[in-house]
């Protein structure tokens, strides 16, 4: 994957730091080397664990699957296999959403990554109906300055023949014609 970006190096103030030019025993024929690219990469075989494997398999069928805490009854998504509140294993699988509510958002002006939309775009947290915690994604099909906390949305999926066991199955989220959820009801669900 190429992520080459032309980032110019800002100039340092005069006299902040100096180093004498060296004397060379011969005139080099090539252009002076001033910068080198030294990539560092770590290649992993990543496993998301059993609970998130179940979640990702659900996404392949366009289902958002959470898991319920046996003590509090809350549904956590993506599931981690144990309740973050009680520490008990979650055993009951619960389909949540796909409709959701925006709990928090951010207007992004500096692009990053290979799959990010053109800037400015809105990244947000989406609380699927029936879930206690939010999923991350982007909001599209609406001007960035009209996004609100409490706004109702639905996921836009990739075409069926593109479905994989990946969060990328949800291309983005878009507004739906339902009244906003009062923000007081979103407390504790970000």
């Amino acid at each position: 994957m190429s992520t080459d970006v032309d980032r110019s190096i800002s100039a340092m103030p005069e006299d902040l730091w100096t180093q004498p030019a060296p004397n060379l025993p011969f005139d080099p024929s090539g252009e002076a080397v001033q910068r080198v690219c030294i990539p560092a990469a770590m290649t992993y075989d990543y496993s998301p664990g059993l609970a998130q494997s179940r979640f990702l398999r659900g996404l392949a069928e366009k289902k958002i699957l959470g898991e319920r805490c046996p003590a509090t009854g809350e549904v956590y998504v993506p599931p981690r296999g144990v309740s973050p509140v009680s520490g008990l294993p979650t055993t009951e699988q619960v389909e949540v959403g796909p409709k959701a509510t925006i709990t928090a958002f951010c207007v992004v002006h500096i692009g990053f990554g290979v799959n990010a939309p053109p800037t400015p775009f809105v990244s947000a947290l989406f609380l699927p109906d029936g879930a206690a915690v939010s999923l991350y994604g982007t909001v599209q099909e609406i001007p960035h300055d009209q996004v609100r906390a409490g706004m109702r949305v639905e996921p836009v999926w990739v075409d069926d023949d593109q479905l994989t066991t990946s969060m990328e199955n949800i291309r983005y989220w878009r507004p739906i014609d339902e009244p906003d959820v009062p923000t007081e009801q979103l407390k504790g669900h970000m």
Partner: protein
């Protein structure tokens, strides 16, 4: 590990975390790399007169800035080495090789680099004479020195 869990239950996927660092070389390392484009090697003269290669920007003993760069030879002597018997991705050669400290003629310090030893680990010794094998198309990088190779074919 729970016996009820099989690897079939668990998804996995490649994940590469990569940083494309762009580094400024500074004038001394820059000159060293620039000289590699001409297939020549530069060291730098320290305050006590020794030649440090690869060059350092500051004197190893006093910390004074150094400026007097000197050319050293493309042949040298193995001063220490270890053997890489199992080659991993990203290593300089795709076959077992030595990582060695090589003191080039004209230098008083050694550089860490690769020695391609066709005869295997039994065919390299401290004190061996080696020569730079240059890359076909120098880029102004330390990898312009593909590796060192033993001088002579008598091994």
């Amino acid at each position: 590990m729970n016996d009820a869990v099989t690897s079939d239950d668990m998804l996995h996927a490649p994940l590469v975390i990569e940083y494309g660092f762009m580094r400024t070389t500074g004038p001394v390392i820059g000159a060293f790399l620039t000289a590699l484009l001409d297939r020549r090697v530069l060291g730098i003269r320290a305050v006590d007169g020794r030649v440090v290669c690869p060059p350092t920007e500051y004197d190893p003993s006093t910390g004074e800035p150094l400026t007097d760069m000197v050319e050293v030879a493309d042949v040298g002597t193995v001063t220490s080495w270890s053997w890489v018997s199992e080659v991993r991705d990203g290593q300089p050669l795709d076959r077992p090789h030595a990582l060695a400290l090589v003191q080039l003629d004209g230098a008083d310090t050694s550089m860490l680099h690769v020695v391609d030893v066709p005869g295997g680990s039994g065919s390299i010794s401290t004190g061996d004479r080696v020569r730079i094998r240059w890359a076909d198309e120098p880029q102004g990088l330390i990898t312009d020195i593909t590796c060192f190779e033993p001088i002579g074919d008598d091994r």
